[in-house]
């Protein structure tokens, strides 16, 4: 028998998709039965009370959570987010319901043992409910009480070799795609870069001194499996400099139907014979491809790395051999004023250990943003407010054509007088002798 009647939540379970309500009910029943004899350190009926307070919020059309607080682990300014229920007498199981963020492994590679280890800690000391994963990419443990925080921190660091993630005005838990561990498109080792920078910037991750959140994400190629261009302040996206490699015999094999286009994706329906002109050449956003019936040609200078031809014919068309990454800055996805994508800052950088070139860009940006950024201002907003040109100055990067989206319609990169031979002064009288008014 459920602790609280939840008719509104029950309705959510009737939809076609798996329901979080069913999941929470399952955990509530599991905790009540306690088949493993766990010595629960927080109220057993925590998931039941979570359903109760959510039902009440649906009924009242108001939240019953208070958020924010001083809770955390000693010395860390992030990783724990305080949550309190404003109806603690009605729902004592969720009077405290703090969130704990844990840094996920690079590329989100887990072993079953690791996941069981995390869940053993979390079943004992928390609600047993998780969010795998949060939007930033970390493991999110939902709901525990203040006295359990240090215990959880000790256990995850000592037993699982796992650290808390980021929250607040911190560097947030960096995230990456699988990269070269699994993917032939990856232009650099995303996991090594992600892991190295996570370790190198521990102070920024745990002790907040930024105006607001700051996110790193690492995509191995422009397919953007972690969507760094949309979801991180500092987006590193793999790219290449040299020409796309084409194996003409294999192109013919695709045309002849010997290879399945797209690696056999969308195979649930008969789309007819593969048409290389319609499905690849005509889909090129810059029109830089042609196929004469025997040979596929690419005008590489006009390629924008959309990845469509490579994705469709991976056996025949491969990324160029000289690989590296582009760095873009300033994406954010705020609720009120709409999303902003990152802007290209470094068109090409070689990604090699110890990554000093990338770290220099990062640290110059931080120094500038910490000084100039307003409270609760993302670096993308600072960039818009103080100009892209200012950003180029502080990062010691020269303006180049790739920085300009549309020449003349938004000429936000201006020359300074000292950059122009002869300065801005000119002889008006001499000019007028040559040019009548």
């Amino acid at each position: 028998m459920a602790k609280h009647q939840t008719p509104l939540l029950d309705q959510l379970e009737t939809g076609p998709w798996p329901s979080f309500v069913s999941d929470i009910k399952q955990e509530a029943a599991h905790r009540a039965a306690n088949p493993d004899g766990v010595d629960y350190q927080i109220p057993v009926d925590c998931p039941s009370d979570l359903l109760g307070v959510l039902e009440l919020s649906f009924k009242d059309k108001e939240t019953h959570w208070k958020h924010g607080g001083i809770v955390g682990v000693f010395g860390y300014g992030g990783g724990v987010i305080g949550r309190y229920c404003d109806q603690p007498e009605m729902f004592p199981g969720v009077a405290h319901f703090h969130t704990v963020r844990l840094a996920q492994p690079s590329g989100k590679y887990y072993t079953a043992d690791y996941l069981r280890g995390i869940m053993d800690i979390w079943d004992l000391r928390g609600s047993g409910l998780t969010n795998m994963h949060g939007s930033t990419g970390d493991i999110v443990l939902l709901g525990t009480t203040t006295p359990q925080l240090e215990e959880i921190f000790f256990d995850v660091t000592h037993k699982m070799n796992t650290d808390l993630g980021g929250s607040g005005g911190n560097l947030r838990t960096p995230a990456d795609c699988l990269g070269q561990s699994r993917c032939e498109f990856a232009c650099y080792d995303t996991q090594d870069l992600c892991h190295t920078l996570t370790n190198d910037y521990q102070d920024e991750l745990h002790r907040p001194a930024f105006p607001y959140k700051f996110k790193f994400k690492f995509d191995g190629c422009p397919n953007g499996c972690v969507a760094s261009i949309a979801r991180s302040d500092f987006s590193v996206i793999g790219t290449w400099k040299s020409d796309i490699r084409i194996d003409q015999d294999r192109v013919k094999a695709y045309v002849a139907g010997e290879f399945k286009p797209g690696g056999g994706s969308h195979a649930g329906r008969d789309w007819g014979k593969f048409d290389i002109v319609k499905e690849v050449v005509d889909r090129c956003p810059t029109g830089c491809m042609s196929y004469d019936g025997a040979k596929l040609s690419i005008d590489n200078a006009n390629c924008t790395r959309c990845m469509h031809c490579i994705n469709t014919m991976p056996a025949a068309v491969k990324i160029g051999e000289e690989t590296g990454a582009s760095i873009l800055l300033g994406a954010k996805a705020p609720i009120l004023d709409g999303a902003q994508m990152s802007s290209l800052l470094v068109p090409f950088v070689v990604v090699e250990k110890p990554y000093d070139e990338i770290k220099e860009v990062i640290e110059n940006i931080w120094d500038w943003w910490m000084e100039e950024g307003k409270n609760r201002e993302r670096v993308g907003e600072t960039m818009k407010r103080l100009s892209f040109q200012k950003l180029l100055e502080v990062t010691n990067i020269k303006a180049m054509p790739q920085h300009v989206k549309e020449p003349r319609s938004n000429p936000y990169i201006f020359f300074k007088e000292e950059e122009v031979p002869g300065g801005f002064e000119h002889d008006e009288a001499a000019y007028r002798q040559r040019h009548m008014r």
Binding site: K66, H67, G68, G69, I70, V71, G72, G75, Y76, G77, G78, V80, I81, G82, Y84, T99, T146, S167, G168, G169, N170, R207, P208, A209, F210, P211, Y212, K213, D367, M370, E371, K374, N375, R376
Partner: protein
């Protein structure tokens, strides 16, 4: 001349009417210092237990340990 830590504590116990402060508020106490140096002073005070973090989840602030109404949440 009071030490940097004393200056921070003096600022916090002064009549500001607030119990929690942004990092940038502390930078104003030391206009000639780099942000990272100010951060070191605050980190030391946190490690000594004199200051504590307050976090909403999205923003983080600093305050004197035990100051403000947040402490009551835990009692």
């Amino acid at each position: 001349m009071p030490s940097e830590k004393e200056q921070v504590l003096e600022f916090l116990t002064g009549k500001t009417g607030k119990s929690k402060f942004y990092f940038s508020d502390f930078c104003k106490i030391f206009p000639d210092k780099k942000q990272r140096e100010v951060k070191k002073v605050l980190t030391e005070l946190v490690n000594e237990g004199k200051l504590e973090f307050w976090s909403s989840g999205s923003t983080t602030m600093y305050g004197m340990t035990g100051a403000g109404k947040q402490k009551a949440e835990e009692d």
